[in-house]
């Protein structure tokens, strides 16, 4: 069980008269986790709020602040109970990836038909040269899906350098591939591109990772961060998560927030403002075991 606190702070140079925002900051519940409680606080208090579930099952909050403000603070505190996906069983799975591909593209089963959305290119994961070749080095003929995906994750972890100064959310995938640098979002997008290039279904997951302080040290407040990883579809196992930034199959330290075709479907917070001049953004995340 975790308590996650996620605070977003926008500071503006001048007054913002009105802002309208869309947040995907409330964790969803599924077989692997249940979100028991969430408190959502916005300062200054919004005039209007709405919540609903989107097409991908994510919890969305819409809000409008229609009074002049120089600072906007959104704090979400959630209690999430996480059951880890059973990693041992996964690696025992022997279904070749080609069989999985065939099933996805030919099954008449409606669950699988709906998964086909995740085989197609998406706004931030277009089809680019070189990706398929990269994927095929892991997806050797007859290799089981999970084993091959695990290998792909390992290679990305090894080949790509973690560099938060190199990319922004608008850096195209080509750049990431060309320089082999980026952050969790880029690695996940790249892995998704690889999987889709060979006809598999892959999706993007945003969430949190519990970080552990060095031995003997006290954990720092707000030292955690938002995180992202990817998920591959297997007709028998369903969606299976992989974290290419840390080269591990998520267990009980990963808490999912939202899922979609790519980052654009799960942007934690976006908005349109009137006025304001330049703005500064600060995010603090704190993940604690309850």
């Amino acid at each position: 069980m975790y308590t996650i606190s996620h605070t977003t702070r926008y500071k503006y140079e001048r007054n913002v008269t009105v802002c309208k925002n869309i947040a995907r900051l409330i964790p969803f519940s599924n077989a692997n986790q249940s979100c028991l409680e969430t408190s959502f606080t916005i300062v200054p208090a919004p005039q209007t709020t709405r919540t609903y579930s989107d097409h991908f099952g994510n919890k969305v909050t819409y809000f409008e602040v229609a009074r002049p403000h120089r600072e906007l603070i959104i704090t979400v505190v959630s209690q999430v109970d996480v059951k880890s996906q059973s990693q041992q069983d996964l690696l025992l799975s022997t279904i070749p990836w080609e069989t999985v591909r065939e099933t996805i593209h030919h099954a008449k089963d409606e669950r699988i038909l709906m998964v086909r959305d995740f085989c197609l290119p998406s706004p931030l994961v277009p089809i680019i040269d070189g990706v398929k070749d990269y994927a095929l080095s892991s997806f050797l003929p007859g290799r089981p899906l999970i084993e091959a995906t695990n290998d792909l994750m390992r290679r990305i972890f090894t080949d790509f350098k973690y560099d938060p100064t190199f990319t922004t959310i608008t850096t195209p995938l080509q750049e990431v591939l060309a320089h082999r640098k980026g952050v969790c979002q880029d690695f996940s997008h790249f892995a998704i591109a690889c999987l889709r290039s060979i006809g598999l279904a892959a999706r993007y997951v945003s969430g949190y990772l519990e970080t552990l302080p060095p031995e003997g040290a006290e954990k720092l407040q707000g030292a955690d961060a938002s995180h992202a990883w990817f998920s591959v579809f297997s007709p028998s196992e369903g969606w299976i998560d992989f974290d290419p930034t840390n080269n591990l199959i998520p267990g009980d330290r990963h808490i999912s927030l939202a899922q979609g075709r790519d980052f654009a479907d799960v942007t934690p917070l976006k908005g349109v403002i009137y006025g304001g001049g330049n703005h500064k953004l600060r995010v603090e995340v704190d993940v604690r075991r309850a």
Partner: protein
């Protein structure tokens, strides 16, 4: 033989001649007029029209052609063309021979289209609902999921609407069996119904007799249904919902139609920036404040409608609109996400869907289409590339006819199809038919396409009894688009029964009465009108001054009088000041500019890059007026259009100095006509007050500038007299001045007339009084019980008027011995000028301030610490 029989024989012979000639140039199997078997046999329903045409000689026919074009041009029916200099509009080309559709043919088309509309509506609701089509295998997932127009955020929004697809347009052509076949569906924001209506109005004049003789079905029913159905869609309990037509703006290719339909249907024409979302509701920002909008008839593509949730780079939309739709507080028609229904990839699956869902066969044939997402179909398309039209499922690139591609282009296309096959379809090219068209006085065949319009009503879809017919520019041409300059026709659906005579009049009356209190002035429109007023007055003032300058210039060239020379100098300086084109004639580098002023004068008139030049002011006037196209009467628009024509002419060919006089006279005529028409035919409500506020303010500022140049320096008496006369003449006040002061003309007299006289329509005081009056009519935020509350601008105006009234003309005109200038007058003018600037600012702030755009907040990025 009797005379009657003789003339009957004649008619017969002429008709045979016409048909014979026509038949000779016929190229394709199906013809609208001639039967397919016998090429000289005319179909019954064409006989009366062709008899009538065959009685006319080529000159008379050509005259009809001119007449049709003239009417369309004069009504300002245009189509904006991309890829040409900004603002390039093309007059709508209308062929005077209508397309005729027989009653029996039409009843088949009508039934087929109604069924298709119902089916597309069901498909739409399913795609944004349960998605049974995908789950049950009736549609491959990629047909939906790979389509750019599939708005995932709209899933779940439309289940409670019976007819979610409100407007549907269908593109038709004759298929191989001679029936009409569908080759494209339009559901995003179908355009053309306004053009069809305008074509009909023109044709009922050009072909008045023929129109009466043939029993032609009317279009009005379609628009009445649209109006009443739309009003019923409102979910609010208000009896008179606020309906707006959302346009992308004047640069859109069919902007004319948006403006035309808005005024025809009685809706407020708005752009995205005119609307705002507050508390999950959509509001129109008008000069009266905010009013809640119930229904948006949109002409903006769906992905551009909401920069918060859809395309973030859109400036055409309304942030939060999707949430308002989700809340059910506003209806958008057609609904957001409807472009997916236009996908040609639906075609191959529709027959099966109709069978499963309706238990019916498709009544309307549609062009054979192969979706490349399936292997067998893909192979067929690749093998037959040269015979097929290749289309993207979502129009992400234009359709191509494989046969026109080079070997290399075809190979590239093949590779593209293989890379993402699900994005492509191959479609057979319909044979089309030819139809009689008037070219150079002869009736000749031209290939034809037809667009039909449907609107949802309580009892199902209603088909417009007519439509938009477009024909190819020449006999061999296949390509028919308005972008490449196609020609259009009116479409006459014929009937044996006289059509129910439905007059639009009672309905219009009701609408007008209802809209009386409702027709709101968007702040943006108000702002445009205010600036149109200012630019109109500014151009008029400058042109008048210029005319006086030219007169003086020719005096100087002829008589070489030193005093004229000095006066000319002053006037040239006034020209620079009035147009704000410094340095110009003020403190020039060389004195030579005064002896050879032609070059600078030409620049002040024609240089469109020079801010303040007459041409750039007229440009601003034209675009300002175009932006509120829906607010001008037909006659007023004709004048504005003339100004547009003038601008196009001088843009094409820079005029010489010699032609200047003519241009000036034409421009003054247009501006005077504009001024007169707006005064006489624009109803005096908020819009007019805004417009006239602009004019009055500008005129006052002009008089201030001119007086400063020509009335404030003290020179010899004769010099002064010349300057004053020049001033009076630019202000159309010379007669009054001479009559009033006869021999006693003086600076004092001039100052009295042009500055202080509250009864003289050219004086500063007169403008201030008018401005005060107008401000009282504008909507007020503060309503005081005794109406004594003054807004900031009213206070400033009161201050101006008081200063003027308390002024002593003798003191004002007394010269300062040191500077030889009338310091008091200068000070008064400066005070009034700065006061008027602040009035302008206050008005902008009060009525136009909410026209700013929002912008994106940097989305929250994920940057984590690596483990």
């Amino acid at each position: 033989m009797t005379q009657n029989a003789q003339s009957l024989e004649d008619t017969h012979a002429k008709l045979e001649d016409l048909i014979h000639l026509y038949g000779k140039s016929r190229r394709i199997a199906h013809d609208e007029m001639l039967s397919s078997g016998d090429e000289h046999l005319i179909k019954d329903h064409w006989v009366p029209l062709m008899q009538a045409l065959s009685r006319s000689n080529p000159e008379a026919l050509e005259h009809k052609n001119h007449e049709a074009r003239r009417i369309m041009r004069e009504s300002g029916v245009t189509y904006n063309v991309y890829d040409e200099p900004e603002g390039s509009t093309r007059a709508w080309q209308l062929d005077p021979v209508p397309m005729l559709i027989s009653q029996s043919d039409w009843s088949g088309i009508e039934a087929g289209l109604v069924q298709r509309a119902e089916l597309l509506n069901l498909i739409f609701k399913d795609i944004y609902g349960e998605q049974r089509l995908i789950r049950e295998g009736l549609l491959p997932p990629e047909v939906i999921f790979a389509h750019q127009g599939f708005q995932r955020l709209c899933v779940g929004l439309y289940q409670n609407t019976k007819h979610a697809i409100f407007n549907y347009a269908s593109d038709l052509a004759r298929g191989p069996d001679g029936r009409m076949w569908v080759f494209a569906d339009r559901t995003q924001a179908p355009s053309g119904s306004g053009y069809a209506l305008e074509s009909r109005i023109a044709m009922s004049r050009v072909m008045a007799a023929e129109f009466r003789e043939n029993k032609v079905r009317r279009l009005s029913h379609y628009f009445r249904t649209m109006r009443s159905s739309l009003a019923q869609l409102s979910r609010s309990s208000r009896s008179d919902p606020l309906i707006v037509l959302l346009t992308p703006g004047p640069l859109n290719e069919t902007y004319f139609e948006h403006a035309y339909l808005a005024s025809y249907l009685g809706y407020t024409l708005v752009q995205g920036a005119d609307l705002t979302v507050r508390d999950g509701k959509v509001w129109l920002k008008s000069i009266d404040g905010l009013s809640q909008v119930d229904i948006i008839l949109r002409r903006v593509d769906d992905s551009f409608c909401d920069p918060l949730e859809l395309r973030e780079d859109s400036h055409l939309g309304v942030p939060g609109l999707l949430q308002a739709v989700r809340d059910g507080s506003v209806m958008v028609v057609n609904p957001l996400g409807s472009s997916i229904i236009e996908s040609p990839a639906m075609f191959p699956f529709m027959a099966n869907i109709a069978k499963h869902w309706l238990g019916e066969e498709l009544k309307m044939p549609c062009a054979a289409t192969w979706w490349c997402g399936h292997e067998k179909e893909r192979n067929y398309v690749l093998e037959n590339l040269d015979k097929l039209v290749i289309k993207a499922i979502d129009r992400r690139f234009p359709s191509v006819f494989g046969g026109t591609l080079s070997q290399q282009e075809r190979e590239t296309l093949r590779q593209q199809i293989l890379a993402t096959p699900y994005l492509y379809v191959g479609q057979e090219r319909l044979a089309c038919s030819s139809t009689p068209t008037l070219v150079k006085g002869q009736v000749v065949p031209r290939r034809v396409l037809f667009r039909s319009f449907l609107v949802a009503a309580e009892d199902g879809y209603n088909v417009m009894q007519g439509g938009l017919t477009r024909i190819a520019p020449d006999n061999d041409s296949f390509v028919i688009t308005n972008q490449s300059g196609g020609v259009n026709k009116d479409t006459w659906v014929l009937t044996d029964q006289p059509d129910r005579q439905v007059s639009l009049l009672p309905d219009i009356k009701k609408v007008l009465l209802r809209q009386d209190a409702e027709l709101l002035m968007p702040s943006r429109s108000a702002e445009n009108l205010y600036w149109v007023g200012r630019y109109a007055e500014r151009s008029e003032g400058v042109v008048r001054l210029l005319r006086t300058v030219l007169g003086k210039l020719s005096d100087v060239t002829e008589y070489h009088d030193e005093m004229d020379q000095a006066c000319l100098r002053k006037m040239l300086q006034a020209l620079t000041c009035l147009t704000d084109t410094h340095p110009g004639f003020v403190n020039p580098k060389s004195e030579a500019i005064f002896t050879r002023p032609e070059k600078e004068i030409l620049a002040v008139v024609f240089d469109s890059d020079k801010a303040g030049s007459i041409v750039s002011t007229l440009n601003a006037l034209f675009y300002g007026a175009f932006n509120v196209r829906d607010l001008w009467s037909a006659d007023t628009w004709r004048i504005i259009d003339d100004i547009g024509e003038f601008l196009a002419t001088v843009r094409a060919k820079k005029p010489s100095f010699f032609g200047l006089h003519n241009h000036i006279d034409t421009t003054i005529d247009s501006l005077m006509a504009f001024s007169g028409l707006t005064q006489e035919s624009m109803s005096h409500e908020s819009g007019w007050f805004m417009f006239d506020l602009g004019k009055r303010l500008e005129r006052a500022l002009q008089v201030i500038k001119l007086s400063r140049s020509l009335l404030c320096d003290v020179n010899g008496e004769l010099d002064e007299q010349l300057n004053i006369e020049a001033l009076m003449s630019t202000q159309e006040s010379l007669m009054t001045y001479r009559r009033r002061y006869r021999l006693a003309g003086s600076a004092e007299a001039a100052c009295k007339l042009l500055v202080l006289d509250e009864l003289h329509p050219r004086s500063i005081a007169f403008q201030i009084v008018k401005l005060q009056g107008h401000c009282r009519y504008l909507p007020r935020q503060v309503k005081s019980l005794f109406n004594t509350h003054l807004n900031d601008e009213e206070k400033t105006l009161l201050h101006c008027l008081t200063s003027l009234r308390l002024s002593d003309v003798n003191k004002l005109c007394k010269a300062d011995p040191k500077t030889s200038q009338r310091q008091n007058l200068l000070a008064l003018l400066a005070d009034i000028e700065s006061s008027l600037f602040s009035v302008s600012e206050d008005i902008s702030h009060r009525y136009f301030s909410h026209t700013d755009h929002g912008r994106q907040l940097a989305p929250q990025q994920i940057v984590e610490d690596a483990d």
